[in-house]
């Protein structure tokens, strides 16, 4: 780099640029908060759904599955599982309940978590709530 471009110019670009774009990020984040009520399905965020999220976290479901495309890639996307299972929370519950304790020979296996009825319902309701979030039309199709 030539003499015309000095170190103090580089330094000013660093400080000025960083501060400016950091403030812009904050401004856009503020905007995003304003826009959320229209999109985040909060009207269906019940206590049961909250409990479902807690169970989702405490059992590290995201360690195998993705949720809205984030997480692990070992097991199917669950952001739209409610639709994939025919808009049925019962089907979701039946699947989780029926996992064999020792897995399935040679196949990727999901653990048996021994959830009680109330917990199963909470998880299913959580997944139903997630499927109602406005995701700009993602995923591309029902397979997730």
């Amino acid at each position: 780099m030539s003499e015309v471009f000095t170190k103090s110019m580089a330094r000013n670009i660093f400080y000025g640029g960083s501060v400016f774009f950091f403030l812009l990020l904050i401004a856009l984040t503020y905007q995003t908060h304003e826009a959320w009520p229209e999109r985040d399905n909060h009207e269906n965020l019940t206590d049961q759904v909250r409990h479902g999220k807690e169970l989702w976290e405490n059992n590290n479901c995201v360690g195998c599955h993705s949720l809205l495309g984030e997480g692990a890639y070992f097991a199917p996307e669950l952001g739209n599982v409610y639709q994939r299972y025919g808009n049925s929370t019962d089907a979701i519950k039946a699947f989780i309940m029926s996992r064999p304790k020792d897995g399935i020979e040679g196949r990727r296996s999901m653990p048996q978590f021994n959830f009680n009825d109330e917990e199963l319902e909470a998880i299913a309701q959580f997944l139903k709530y997630v499927s109602g979030i406005n995701t700009n039309d993602w995923p591309p199709n029902i397979q997730g």
Binding site: M1, K7, A10, I13, F14, G17, S18, F21, F22, L24, L25, L28, Q31, T32, W36, R39, D40, N41, H42, L45, R50, K53, E54, W56, E57, N58, N59, N60, C61, G63, C64, L68, G69, E70, G71, A72, Y73, F74, A75, P76, E77, D102, G103, I104, E105, G106, R107, R108, S109, P111, Y129, I133, N134, T135, N136, W138, P139, P140, Q143, G144
Partner: protein, 462 residues
């Protein structure tokens, strides 16, 4: 080594390498589970292996960053470390906390761990990369703050250089953005949005400051190029990193419930994110070409050039590949993401830590400047084995990802996830094969520390 207290870095580097080996072993376990689904089930389910793999990665990189700071800050500041005692104490605190956390993952079901550690009091667990019990997270914050205090006071009492300044800013940012890991709202959309304030603003923000400053330090030392030139580069690289990377966070806001304008902001700014990585490559090669000395530590120079190239490929090229919203719509959360994640982490952060270890370790072990020729040759073999293996891991995962996108998301008759996974099994086998080569390279790396012999002659003028 100019200052006695720099040697605390040795502990940190040894721990880093040890945990790196653990990380790769669990990577290979997962790689097998991808093809032999019930391998080690139910003793070590996939999610447990994954937590161990990714958390070990983060922890050993943090050990590496802290070691790098303890080594280079006294030398730059031209003074002893503020408190070597504190540095040693925090090393053990961090190591024990880390080990207990990993043992917790492996020995009890995750839900039990959550209960044992009182997760309901302040729920932070169960989110990708942030799986640590809340108490561990608090421990990390304490270690980070103590470390920052130690480093900052060293800088304050000594010479202030651009390298230490940028490094300090990066490390402070690392600690500050980690605080978002304590924010876990019930609203999943907000939870996800702020989760990226840790993950993205780390790897595509403040960590780049850390990487660039360590790179600048190693280049000054091994090429003898004038500090003025190096510092100008350093400023402009980190300027571009933050100018593109802050708003670039938007490439994660496309499909998680954030408003549509992020499709534009995220695509445009993140498409510019390769620029700082490209500049680092130009920078590294330029400085080596302009070198005033031929430093006898060849592996250190090799790692420094390697990290610049591989970070550009992994973060810059593989990142750009899937960052535009219309592309990301199809690739989001597929093996393409995994391919990119591997090469970017390896190229940028694994290799920069190995570069500073390679440069600093011989001196901390009582040599003048470098290891014996025999040891250097082994180390350079390990460089090529690991790097080429990582290139192939990335290529195989990319192949798997393209097929996955096609079969599951793009074709006229999309197939289900599990059916597609069966069809692309071959690519996972090949990834595992490349992973074994990676492990061999890593073991060779460890072995290189035990190869003795006469030290190579000390630096010559060009």
């Amino acid at each position: 080594m100019k200052y006695e207290s720099q040697s605390v870095a040795k502990l940190y580097f040894i721990a880093a390498i040890g945990l790196f080996v653990g990380q790769i072993v669990f990577g290979l376990i997962m790689g097998l589970q991808y093809v032999i689904g019930d391998f080690m089930f139910p003793e070590i389910p996939f999610n447990v292996a994954r937590m161990v793999h990714t958390n070990l990665l983060i922890v050993w990189l943090l050990f590496g960053f802290m070691g790098a700071a303890y080594y280079l800050v006294p030398e730059e500041a031209e003074t002893e470390l503020h408190s070597p005692m504190l540095a040693k104490l925090m090393f053990w605190v961090f190591l024990v906390a880390g080990a207990l956390t990993i043992l917790g993952y492996l020995l009890v079901p995750y839900a039990t761990l959550a209960e044992m550690t009182g997760n309901h009091l302040l729920p932070t667990m169960g989110r990708e990369f942030l799986e640590q019990p809340t108490i561990t997270k608090i421990g990390i914050v304490i270690v980070a703050l103590t470390f920052l205090y130690n480093i900052a006071f060293t800088v304050l009492k000594g010479r202030k250089t651009v390298i230490t300044l940028i490094l300090l800013l990066g490390l402070a940012g690392l600690a500050i953005f980690f605080l978002f890991s304590f924010y876990n709202p019930d609203n999943l959309v907000k939870d996800k949005y702020y989760w990226w304030f840790v993950v993205h603003l780390w790897v595509e923000g403040v960590w780049e400051l850390i990487m660039a400053s360590i790179l600048a330090f190693v280049l000054i030392k091994t090429t003898g190029v004038d500090r003025e030139i190096i510092e100008k580069w350093l400023y402009i690289i980190v300027a571009m990193a933050l100018i593109t990377g802050l708003i670039g966070t938007g490439h994660h806001f496309f499909w998680i419930g954030a408003p549509e304008y992020w499709l534009w902001w995220g695509s445009i700014f993140s498409a510019l994110e390769p620029i700082p990585f490209f500049m680092m490559t130009v920078f590294a090669f330029n400085m080596v070409n302009k070198r005033r000395i031929n430093h006898p530590n060849q592996p250190a120079v090799l790692w420094a050039l390697g990290t610049a190239v591989m970070a550009f490929l992994g973060a810059g090229v593989w990142g750009f590949m899937h960052t535009l919203a219309p592309v990301n719509y199809y690739t989001h959360g597929t093996q393409i993401t995994a391919a990119h994640g591997h090469m970017a982490f390896y190229g940028a952060y694994v290799m920069i830590v190995l570069a500073i270890i390679s440069y600093a370790m011989p001196m901390m072990r009582g040599r003048k400047a470098c290891n014996s020729a025999a040891s250097q040759i082994v180390e350079m073999w390990s460089f090529w084995l690991m790097t080429i293996a990582m290139v192939f891991i990335t290529l195989f995962l990319t192949g798997a990802g393209i097929l996955q996108v096609w079969l599951q998301r793009f074709s006229d008759e999309p197939m289900s996830f599990m059916v597609v996974q069966d069809k692309i099994e071959l690519f996972y086998w090949m990834r595992e094969g490349a992973g074994v080569v990676f492990l061999i390279g890593l073991l060779l790396y460890v072995y290189s520390f035990f190869v003795g012999g006469e030290e190579r002659t000390v630096e010559k003028k060009v």
